[in-house]
């Protein structure tokens, strides 16, 4: 079971000026779309990939697991999130 969490020093906020989720980190900002913001809100260290995909599928059309995995891997490579072992 893979769970993800934000790395230390990374924060997720809702920016009221842009009306968008934003990931803030030591080197800059990442402005998120609605799906991205929802996924990252679930990167709490306790929610596994399948549960995140289920939650998304309830809100939107079905989200393929591999798309989700690619998105999270890309964020991990940018050192914004890390694997957690609950």
């Amino acid at each position: 079971m893979t769970c993800w969490r934000l790395r230390p020093g990374v924060r997720l906020i809702h920016d009221s000026v842009r009306d968008a989720g934003v990931l803030l980190h030591p080197d800059g900002v990442l402005i998120l779309n609605e799906t991205g913001a929802r996924v990252l809100a679930l990167c709490d260290g306790n929610t596994d990939l399948v549960t995140i995909a289920d939650a998304l599928s309830r809100a939107y059309d079905a989200v393929p697991l591999h798309d989700l995995r690619d998105f999270l891997d890309a964020l991990a490579r940018r050192r914004l999130i890390e694997r957690a072992h609950p």
């Binding site: 230390p8 920016d15 000026v17 842009r18 934003v22 803030l24 030591p26 080197d27 900002v29 050192r79």
Partner: protein, 349 residues
Amino acid sequence: MLAELTHRCPLRCGYCSNPIGRHSRSSELTTQQWCQVFEEARELGVLQVYFSGGEPLLRRDLAGLVAHARRLGLYTSLITGGQGMSADRLADLVASGLDHVQISLQDADAAVADAIAGRAAVHRRKLTAARLVKEVGLPLTLNVVLHRANIGHTRDLIDLALRLRADRLELANAQYYGSALLNLPALLPNRAQLDAAETLVQEARNTLAHRLEIVYVRSDLHDGVPKPCMHGWGSRQLTVTPSGDVLPCPAAARIPGLDVPNVRQAALADIWFHSAAFNRFRGTAWMPEPCRSCPLKEDDHGGCRCQAFQLAGDPAATDPACRLSPHHALVRTLLQDAESAPDTLPYRA
């Protein structure tokens, strides 16, 4: 945004690009004025504040300013030389919500580092500050300005960053403005030194990717390719100086005729959208040839305005670092001088 809280600084680095002795404590913005600036910045869409200087720790109200910025939702980074950082001071900052600390190092070797900083025991205090930051669990960036006297120690700097458990290491080739320009022949590395450093960085990046992020800022003088001016002038960044001047670029104060706006006279949004300073080099319409018809103009924005002014005498000229610039011969001459210059330590003029 970059919030330069004070230009007071206990160090005297030869490559420092801050104006020397331009601001005294009495001309600095008050706590309340800074809080107002942060509020206006957040309304404008600013998401990050870098508390910088000079040495921001010299402001006794630093923790209060961090807390205010944090309450507004801003990401708060402290850019410090590490002098005057104590466990108590750091605990206050953490309680205020500080997100990230960047400490500048002069070198990996204490004796060389102290000689560059112009004061004894500076390096030891920086290491202590770095350890304190990791002890409280904040992300730590180490920043080193590279020049002739320390670029040969790139391997040692990477090792030091690992020992200090830093999260990021920024190795940035010096930019030559202000007093750094006066010291240029003593500061500029030669081609062989640069190549060796770049090879080391590339190797370290491959082997250390999971432990340490290494950011390398290349020298724009050596390869005929100008460095991009931010994301464009007046596009994403702004700097507020200790006295409240608002600049599109931290080094822009020396550009002649800029007509610098100030937060005491105008609202930040007004300055951002309407001031002459922020519009002067915005977009591409101001560009002369060869930039005007160059396919790269949206990528590098014509290079550095400060460098164009300092080297070519015209802030609107194509950056002389660009091999297409009619002034590029100036840069070639500087490089030739650097190849034959003796290895001396840079002290502040």
